[in-house]
Symmetry: C2
Subunit: 276 residues, 2 copies
């Protein structure tokens, strides 16, 4: 783990690290915020998975979450959204290849060599972070858009690893969306049964979720047809699953939307992650 930069921020430290990833077979970069409380004790960690076209930097600089994380004593990690670099396959489209890992383990060539973001987020990066930093191993997870999809699916499949989950404008039903079908076809091949491992609605139907779920969705989001919030809202209500889906009037898909409700999400996770 190599320190790329660090700045004091709300009394804590916002750092950027890079490391050589065995899972993704390339150098990966991530942002890591440690709150002031981490000087004295190990703290819980909230994962923020970003959306299409983002790097580790977007949410780190624009979502404004450090303020609340410092208040509540949570660390934050901002992973990249895909493997990256000259040696990594890419596609001309914004929604495939670099910047568009979709948090899956690609099984289909030529993507399979590098595009293993699911294992990277679930296995490799957690181990690295807990080893190197003052973290107590208690995790929550959230994310935006493609990263909201990542947060929900990763939590639902790993309830022992993630104690709390929320999402901002998540892609909730990718097997039925052009943000999903195209990528799953490329990364996973044509057997749609496999795709279900990465669809929040299908996973929730199969496994449920041990706790509550918080989802915020802008009612004026320009991508509502691709995000399909009605699918998970119906799923949660239909299954009597504890959870809150808030359609927020006037908000679009931008980081201004995330910033506006960032305090609520950090508090949501803090309540659960700081519980003994």
């Amino acid at each position: 783990m190599e320190l790329v930069s660090q700045s004091q921020c709300f009394g804590g430290v916002q750092a950027v690290y890079s490391h050589s990833s065995e899972t993704c077979q390339c150098k990966m970069t991530f942002g890591l915020f440690l709150p002031p409380q981490a000087k004295d004790r190990k703290v819980p960690l909230l994962w923020f998975l970003a959306g299409l076209t983002c790097t580790h930097e977007n949410a780190m600089t624009k979502a404004g979450l450090q303020n609340y994380a410092a208040e509540h004593g949570l660390a934050l990690v901002f992973p990249d959204t895909s493997p990256r670099g000259d040696g990594v396959l890419d596609d001309e489209a914004y929604d495939l290849g670099q910047g568009a890992g979709f948090y899956v383990n690609a099984t289909r060539d030529p993507w399979g060599r590098h595009f293993r973001m699911y294992d990277y987020i679930v296995e490799e990066l957690p181990a690295l972070l807990v080893e190197a930093l003052p973290l107590n191993g208690v995790f929550g997870i959230t994310g935006h858009s493609m990263g909201g999809h990542g947060a929900l699916t990763i939590a639902f499949r790993n309830p022992d690893k993630f104690r709390s989950v929320s999402a901002f404008a998540p892609i909730v039903n990718p097997t039925r969306s052009d943000w999903g079908r195209k990528q799953f076809s490329a990364y996973l091949g044509d057997d749609e049964a496999v795709w279900g491992n990465y669809d929040a609605c299908l996973l929730l139907a199969e496994h449920g979720w041990k706790g509550e779920i918080l989802i915020d969705q802008g009612a004026d989001d320009q991508f509502l047809d691709l995000l399909r919030p009605e699918a998970i809202a119906g799923q949660i209500a239909g299954a009597r699953q504890p959870g809150i889906v808030r359609m927020q009037p006037g908000y679009d898909h931008s980081y201004y939307f995330i910033a506006s409700f960032g305090a609520d999400h950090v508090r949501w996770h803090a309540k659960r992650l700081n519980a003994l």
Copy 2:
């Protein structure tokens, strides 16, 4: 005034506008945040002047001020830092020409044609904003680095126009800094007596300031030699000028520093701008 984009943000609206500037003889772009209170009444406006290399976008997306502005009922404006575009002169250096207007009226060719940021901020843009938007004409001003220099000098020269002033890591004594001497020489010529019109320390010595001044400065700022906080700290104390200069341990020159103390500055201005 042409609307470029708008997003709801903390219950208010973060917009970007462009307009044809008579002062700068080019198209200019700025960010404008209206708090939710502006739906019902005219509100005060806090100016945020950005630093070297910035556009209208940096502070708008990274400083996190909208949260507090929404709470206190202040509008925010994020002007660009220079004239810009293909038809506008530039220099290869990051600290001269586009992105480096230094908030002066250039009098020396070839800069004089476009680089008139002082008049743009003091005259043209205020008139445009008050005409077009629900603003009550009560202004405060702040800024970062080169923009902190702009905020202090513009306030000190226009006490009837700006009711409150603060700055983050400002260049306070540009006539004695390489962030100043180079640019003033290019924009204003070699008569150093003229430069004093754009030096916060010299202006404060000459005119004082009617109210209090708030300055935050990171003690670990990588540019302390160029910013020279000791000059204005000494000036304020020596002149018995009401004001607060805070050397903040551990903070550098980044937007994480601005974000960390943004709440304090917005509150500082709100207290003065919302007073009857």
